[in-house]
């Protein structure tokens, strides 16, 4: 799964962006409380590892789907990067799915269940040395969009490029495992000086590539499915410029890109469906339109005039303001998909400023989860998060250290008692959230302030403009105590949550360890758990660490595992929620006659 930080700025809305539908006058009020929600209860983020048969193409046909037509994806902003090694955000991955292929990938069935299969590789790889050596064999008939052959060298090039100075935006797991240090750029500078890594061995005749890791990574096959490790043709690599015009290995290639306005992808004639077990490719083309925020996109699809019948909300979900309209109108509800996100929304507590764990525990007790979720749109908007590890992750065990499932509205008495014990009654708490992206946060701040006051804190609200939000909260010496944040695991094991968020070694400006937690027993446990080869034992170990961190250190306040709804036009078929990047699985859509 991919980190989708930007994805967390759900549905931005500029007021009154929609059409003036006066028929709405009739709906002066809502109905009663049914005590139910309209969405799914199933987490589809968990993954099983597929066999060689599963990895063999073509992808199973979708019933009733025909080739042809154009699908429109409406998104709030342009893709920030197209170069595989610079892709980490979910939004970029939405389009990357159409033209980037990596060694492995996720095959998603029509019920949403996922299997890890070989994408470029014939299977999910062979592990040896307890996770230190991984070997993959490439499929036959793989081609780039100019007709040249996709070789093991191109795959190696994709991994080695991740060491270059201009590819800092991508994931870092494989690089650090290959050289055994998180400061991997000082050990290897990338493939552009014609020097290759000793730790990757390729055999062109046998079409195999072997990765010899310094640190054991029993889940490397999952890691290699990230677009950050997609293949790049050695002969066509234009370095920094590759970000503008990448070469396609998938079913579509980029035909036109007007920056910040639109992007058009057309068929790649050299893509052979027999080599691809994951992707269907029914539409002749995809057009992405940028610049429409969630509320406006929802209104466009509610109205669906003209070409919008072929459109989907490619990125933002239906915002809280329109949930009632969309979910109570059966005609509209028919045109939605929904799913539970694999990510966790939480509030990071700055452990450098709030040094007393008792105060952090008190914050956890005081936090008004129920009120916050009601603002997001009630039960339809998601489930309460009570732990760091989300239900998608292997080994999830319904932990609830602070009894939030029973008292989601917060427990001010208990928080107050803890504060008194710590001698910190009246403790100032500077709370920050991104301003401008989602209006819901303007409302949640009100209930948060009320709850903190009730628990004996002195809350101070400091909103930061959404454009610079991450830059500011990821500064080590920031002035915030509690920061709104979110994290999606990169693949469904505890490592991809615990290591980026709580490993003290990663603390730096721009690091995702926003809590700035640096405790030696946590760092050691992360190192130890990462090399457990048995997935079950590893899951249990991560779960245990989750509980221990929340009980003793409480560096974050988990908020919600969110459910999101997306609208699509009536002429769009094959709509399926993407558990990896949330939104639609673009390559499974088709145009209805």
């Amino acid at each position: 799964m991919s980190l989708s930080r930007r994805n967390f700025v759900i549905a931005t809305s500029v007021a009154a962006g929609g059409s003036m539908v006066l028929s709405a006058c009739s709906s002066g009020g809502g109905g009663g409380n049914s005590g139910k929600h309209a969405g799914t209860d199933k987490y589809t983020g968990s993954v099983t590892v597929g066999t060689k048969e599963d990895s063999t193409g073509p992808a199973p046909e979708i019933e009733g789907a025909k080739k042809g037509g154009n699908i429109i994806g409406i998104g709030p902003s342009d893709f920030s990067h197209l170069d595989p090694q610079r892709i980490y955000y979910a939004w970029n991955s939405t389009v990357a799915n159409l033209y980037i292929r990596a060694l492995t990938g996720y095959k998603i069935a029509s019920d949403g269940s996922m299997k890890l299969v070989g994408d470029l590789a014939t299977d999910t790889g062979t592990m040896a040395d307890e996770g230190k050596t991984w070997t993959f064999t490439l499929k036959d008939g793989l081609k780039w969009d100019d007709g040249s052959e996709l070789t093991v060298e191109d795959v190696r090039h994709g991994i080695e490029r991740a060491f270059a100075t201009f590819t800092t935006e991508g994931a870092m797991y494989v690089q650090s495992a290959l050289v055994g240090s998180s400061d991997f750029r000082s050990k290897y500078k990338g493939p552009f000086s014609n020097k290759h890594l000793d730790s990757i061995v390729t055999d062109k005749a046998k079409k195999t590539i072997t990765l010899k890791l310094k640190v054991a990574r029993p889940d490397l096959n999952f890691t290699l499915a990230m677009h950050s490790y997609g293949a790049v043709p050695v002969g066509h690599d234009t370095k920094e410029k590759y970000d503008k015009d990448p070469v396609s290995a998938g079913p579509y290639k980029i035909a036109q890109h007007a920056i910040d306005k639109s992007m058009k992808l057309v068929r790649n004639p050299h893509w052979d469906p027999k080599t691809d077990a994951i992707r269907n490719a029914y539409p002749d083309s995809f057009t992405f339109q940028f610049g429409t925020e969630g509320l406006a996109a929802a209104d466009r699809l509610i109205a669906q005039s003209g070409d919008d019948q072929y459109a989907v909300m490619a990125y933002s979900g239906v915002p809280a303001e329109r949930l009632q309209k969309v979910l109570t109108d059966p005609e509209l509800k028919k045109r939605t998909i929904n799913g539970l996100l694999s990510g966790l929304y939480y509030y990071a507590i700055n452990c450098k400023r709030i040094t007393d764990p008792k105060v952090r525990q008190a914050l956890n007790y005081a936090w008004p989860l129920e009120q916050i979720r009601r603002i997001y749109g009630g039960q339809s908007a998601g489930d309460y998060a009570t732990s760091i590890i989300s239900p998608d992750i292997l080994g999830y065990d319904h932990q609830d250290v602070y009894g939030k499932a029973k008292k989601p509205q917060g427990d001010p008495e208990k928080a107050k008692a803890l504060l008194k014990e710590a001698g910190k009654v009246g403790q100032k708490i500077v709370y920050t959230y991104p301003k401008g992206g989602n209006d819901a946060y303007e409302k949640t701040k009100v209930v948060i302030v009320n709850a903190l006051k009730a628990a004996g804190f002195d809350p101070v609200v400091k909103a930061v403009d959404q454009g610079s939000y991450y830059d500011q909260v990821q500064q080590i010496d920031n002035n915030f105590d509690v920061m709104w944040f979110g994290w999606s695991p990169d693949w469904p094991t505890g490592y991809t949550v615990m290591q980026p968020l709580f490993d003290g070694a990663t603390i730096a400006n721009g690091s995702n360890n926003v809590s700035q937690l640096n405790v030696s027993w946590v760092n050691d446990a992360i190192k130890k758990n990462a090399v457990i080869t048995d997935p079950k034992a590893a899951g249990a170990a991560w779960e245990e660490l989750d509980k221990k961190i929340m009980t003793e250190l409480a560096p974050i306040i988990p908020e919600t595992f969110q459910r999101r709804f997306y609208l699509y036009g009536s002429k769009v078929g094959g709509a399926l929620f993407d558990p990896l990047f949330s939104g639609f699985i673009m390559y499974k859509l088709h145009v209805k006659a």
């Binding site: 002066g28 809502g30 303001e321 309209k325 009120q371 009601r374 009630g378 819901a440």
Partner: protein, 342 residues
């Protein structure tokens, strides 16, 4: 967002028509003469639109001033999130559960979606805050406009030229864009990074900025009036007797200019109400949870498809207030300056 450019208003004068009209009652009551102010008041009372508008405007001001009192009698406040505290008030999607935006005996104007605050008290406090800001701005604008305009007009020469160019620049300035761009920067300079921005600072800065841009139209208008007046005999006479410029400006010229000033001020106030609301709507100025007309309209604009009631109250009250105040301004002008129009 620019306040209306002032229309040319002539100084208060007793016209022939009026002297004729008032001649008859005057003969009945004897030879009692009436001041121009009395005459204007009589004329104003005859204007039904003006009187009704005046009552509406007074009603709004009373409601604003007495907001805490009314809220106390009514038993609610604009900050408590009633809907959050009592889940039966909001439905699954955090829209008001009751019909018509949750209007009921307890919540006369309903509650707002998501937070479930009482719309009635929120609106009262919004009126109070908005009127406070616009009234203060209007007073300051009038004061600076009068002082600067009169001085420039009377002194003439280099001063006049200098002030004139400043006015030109201010009138050409894109104020709204400036405010949106500059205001957050100013606040980060003034407020330490781990302190909340105090509401009084927002209010003061709003008033300051609106005043800084608002005085120019009034000043320009008065300058023109003064240019005409200063050549009149009574000013010459005052000069000959050795009166100081300050005395001439404030004792000789100013009394002749009260009419345009009053008219300008009554037209400016509703303009500032909408400017202030517009800024809040755009995300600068006051923001949730501080009650404000613009904040309410901004919130409601996102929910009108599902909860039109919530849009209705702030929207309709603001329209009524602005229309009434503008009509009042017209009536005041008609009363003081019967030669213009009609």
């Amino acid at each position: 967002m620019t306040p209306p450019t002032p229309s040319q208003a002539t100084p208060l004068e007793v016209t022939d028509e009026d002297s004729a009209a008032s001649a008859k009652p005057a003969t009945l009551k004897g030879t009692e003469s009436r001041s121009p102010g009395r005459l204007a008041w009589t004329r104003f009372k005859r204007d039904r639109t003006g009187v009704i508008s005046a009552f509406v405007v007074i009603f709004f001001f009373v409601a604003g001033i007495c907001a805490p009192l009314i809220a106390k009698v009514y038993g609610k406040d604009p900050y408590t999130t009633y809907g959050q505290n009592d889940p039966s008030l909001l439905n699954d999607f955090s829209y008001p559960a009751g019909p018509n935006g949750g209007m009921s005996g307890d919540f006369w104007f309903g509650i707002d979606p998501q937070l479930g605050r009482d719309v009635f008290t929120f609106l009262l406090y919004a009126i109070r805050n908005s009127l406070l800001i616009s009234a203060a701005t209007t007073l300051l604008v009038a004061f600076f406009g009068v002082v600067i305009g009169l001085t420039a007009g009377y002194l003439g020469g280099k001063t006049d030229y200098f002030v004139g160019r400043i006015i030109d620049i201010l009138l050409a300035f894109p104020q709204t864009l400036f405010f949106i761009g500059f205001w957050p920067v100013m606040l980060t300079i003034l407020v330490s990074p781990d302190e909340a921005t105090p509401t009084w600072l927002i209010v003061v800065s709003l008033i300051t900025v609106m005043t800084a841009f608002g005085w120019a139209p009034i000043a320009r208008l008065l300058r023109g009036e003064v240019l005409a007046l200063r050549e009149r005999e009574f000013v010459e006479a005052a000069k000959v007797t050795g009166a100081s410029p300050a005395r001439i400006i404030f004792k000789e010229l100013l009394p002749n200019l009260w009419t345009p000033i009053l008219i300008q001020a009554t037209l400016a106030l509703p303009a500032y109400v909408t400017i202030e609301a517009g800024l809040a709507f755009l995300g600068v100025g006051l923001s949730d949870p501080t009650p404000d007309w613009g904040v309410m309209v901004q919130n409601a604009s996102k929910f009108y498809q599902g909860d039109i009631t919530y849009m209705l109250f702030p929207g309709v009250t603001m329209v009524i207030f602005v229309v009434a105040f503008n009509l009042l301004g017209d009536s005041v002008r008609d009363a003081l300056d019967p030669k213009a129009g009609r």
